[in-house]
């Protein structure tokens, strides 16, 4: 299987130096190979399994997290917000 490591890197927002490209391509190929060696699952028909389902949650309010504690995870904060580098759409 041909792996376009440049495209994968771009989708994952990773910058991989040119000289490392071949190394990563090889590693990715090994991963794909490993997955391909797994036994095939019969995916004929529906992708959903009605015998293995989850319970839904009642629409009841639970306390949120204290803001100060949440913001402790962020490197930069300002005005109660996480401060991030300027983004323009």
């Amino acid at each position: 299987m041909e792996i376009d490591i440049k495209r994968l890197a771009k989708l994952a927002k990773l910058s991989i130096p040119e000289e490392k490209m071949e190394e990563f391509r090889k590693k990715m190929e090994d991963i794909i190979q490993m997955v391909e060696n797994l036994p095939d699952l019969d995916t004929e028909g529906s992708l959903v399994d009605p015998t293995d389902t989850m319970e839904l949650r009642k629409d009841e309010v639970q306390p949120s997290f204290p803001r100060d504690e949440m913001l402790m995870n962020a490197p930069y904060t300002a005005a109660g917000c996480i401060l991030i580098p300027k983004v323009v759409d």
Binding site: L11, V48, L56, D59, V61, M70, C81, L83, I84
Partner: protein, 480 residues
């Protein structure tokens, strides 16, 4: 618009659902809270957290599915849509890919006097992203994640829309339907309803679609109308000049009234959808799906059609009454008393009462006015107990106090005078004081009779019976 071309439009409407809590956690779903106060590790996407789907979201979405005549997929799942943007802490949005909760529906909308059926491809549930506040002073961007995880439905239409007017009618109908179902605040100004617009053009008579362009940042339904008109004209100009349309995404700038290229096809996002491993398949029992269908009220377009057919009201009046759930319910409650004619009820609601609602910027349900009192007041006019003018006086009182109109008529002495003797005296006095008008009438300007009746009404302090007064004025002049 160049009539050699046909416009083809498809719309994607995102509506925030008015649940108590977010879609995957118990944080409050509330607009306008202080920044980052309705957040927790789940909606912030911290490692090790697990989303749990809110059943109310599923039920609200199914209701919309029923309202738009969709097939409901009782067994479905959720998928991850991957993209990097700082308003999305997990770097993926939990959405639905190949099995939407609702699909293959349609919506009938009124465009002018025509009913137009617009296909609805699908309605799926997903989570909203946070809000970025661009702040030059801080030299960066502020991220507020209160909106992260607010439940959304995305309603995708078929490319069945053929004009900006049809698009506007479709959006208005989606909007009133959301309000009728009580599943969304549907406040455009708060961004709780948003839409993306897909536009293409093709030579008139062609059955193949042209290349479509997607427009983002269309923030109101009237902006959608402008954006479609602009984009269609832009594409026609390109084609007329021998160019070709590129498949691309453009950003609508409503202030400038133009759109600009956001990204071309080469830069199109690759979302790499896959089933969310944190969320299993979920099922909704057929009995539940049916029970939700039974809860769907009569919707605005059906109401409009019924008002036109059953009450012989004009399309414009029917639509105005049906547009607002509260107004429609009030109108129907007044009719249910069986005391008055639909046409007069409609006239009072859309006339004097609407004026008050506009002035006070409120809903009819916020007034003290009750359907019973309005019905009684109108029936007093229809029985000729009071004049139309006296009706307005009664209305002023019952707008803000729950008081029997009969009492008000008694207290204020508003009962109409139909006593010939009393009215004759008034007519004689008015004719004597308005010799010029009388002369005009005799010279063929018969429309002055309205002025003379008006003077008589004034003389009677609004209590005279205008129909009787008119007859008497004409008779008296002819006798002169």
């Amino acid at each position: 618009m160049n009539s050699n071309y046909e416009i083809v439009v498809g719309l994607e409407v995102h509506a925030e659902l008015s649940t108590e809590t977010k879609i995957f956690c118990g944080c409050k779903n509330k607009f306008g809270s202080e920044v980052n106060t309705n957040v927790c590790p789940v909606c912030m996407g911290l490692p090790g957290t697990l989303p749990v789907l809110n059943e109310q979201v599923v039920e609200y979405a199914i209701k919309m599915g029923h309202a738009l005549n969709c097939k409901i997929n009782g067994t479905t799942k959720q998928d991850r849509k991957n993209y990097f943007y700082p308003d999305l802490p997990k770097s993926y949005q939990i959405s639905q890919f190949d099995i939407p909760l609702c699909e293959n529906g349609y919506l009938d909308v009124l465009v002018g006097d025509e009913v137009k059926r617009i296909g609805v491809t699908r309605i799926h549930i997903e989570e909203d992203a946070g809000k970025l506040i661009h702040d030059d002073k801080m030299g960066g961007t502020l991220a507020d994640y209160n909106r992260c995880g607010v439940p959304l439905i995305e309603i995708v239409s078929e490319p069945d829309i053929r004009s900006a007017d049809e698009a506007k009618a479709y959006l208005d109908t989606i909007h009133t339907t959301l309000l009728y179902l009580g599943i969304s605040d549907a406040k455009m100004q708060e961004g709780s309803v948003r839409c993306d617009v897909n536009v293409s053009v093709r030579p008139a008579g062609s059955t193949e679609f042209g290349t479509r362009v997607e427009m983002k940042n269309v923030n109101s339904f009237s902006a959608a109308h402008r954006a479609i008109t602009y984009e269609a004209a832009r594409q026609i100009k390109v084609l007329e000049e021998g160019g070709t349309i590129q498949q691309e995404t453009r950003r609508w700038d409503d202030v400038k009234g133009v759109n600009v290229l956001l990204r071309s096809k080469e830069d199109a996002q690759d979302y790499r959808y896959f089933p969310d491993p944190d969320l299993l398949t979920f099922t909704v029992a057929q009995e539940k799906i049916d029970a939700l269908k039974a809860e769907i009220p009569e919707l605005p377009v059906a109401k409009t059609m019924r008002y036109m057919a059953d009450y012989k009201l004009s399309r414009a009046d029917s639509e105005l009454l049906a547009l607002n759930k509260n107004t429609a319910a009030f109108f129907e409650a007044v009719l249910a008393t069986g005391k008055c004619e639909p046409k007069s009820v409609s006239n009072w609601i859309l006339g004097d009462i609407y004026k008050v609602l506009n002035e006070r910027r409120c809903e009819i349900t916020e007034l003290a006015l009750t359907p019973a009192n309005l019905a009684e007041m109108i029936s007093l006019i229809e029985k000729k107990t009071i004049s139309n003018a006296a009706g307005k006086t009664v209305l002023e009182v019952i707008l803000d106090t729950d008081k029997d109109p009969n009492e008000i008529v008694k207290e204020k002495g508003l009962a109409q005078v139909s006593d010939t003797g009393a009215l004759n005296a008034i007519v004689e006095k008015v004719l004597a004081n308005n010799e010029k008008a009388v002369a005009d009438f005799k010279n063929g300007k018969t429309n002055v009779v309205g002025f003379l009746v008006g003077q008589c009404m004034k003389e009677s302090r609004g209590k005279g019976n205008p129909a009787m007064l008119k007859e008497m004025v004409v008779a008296a002049i002819e006798k002169m």
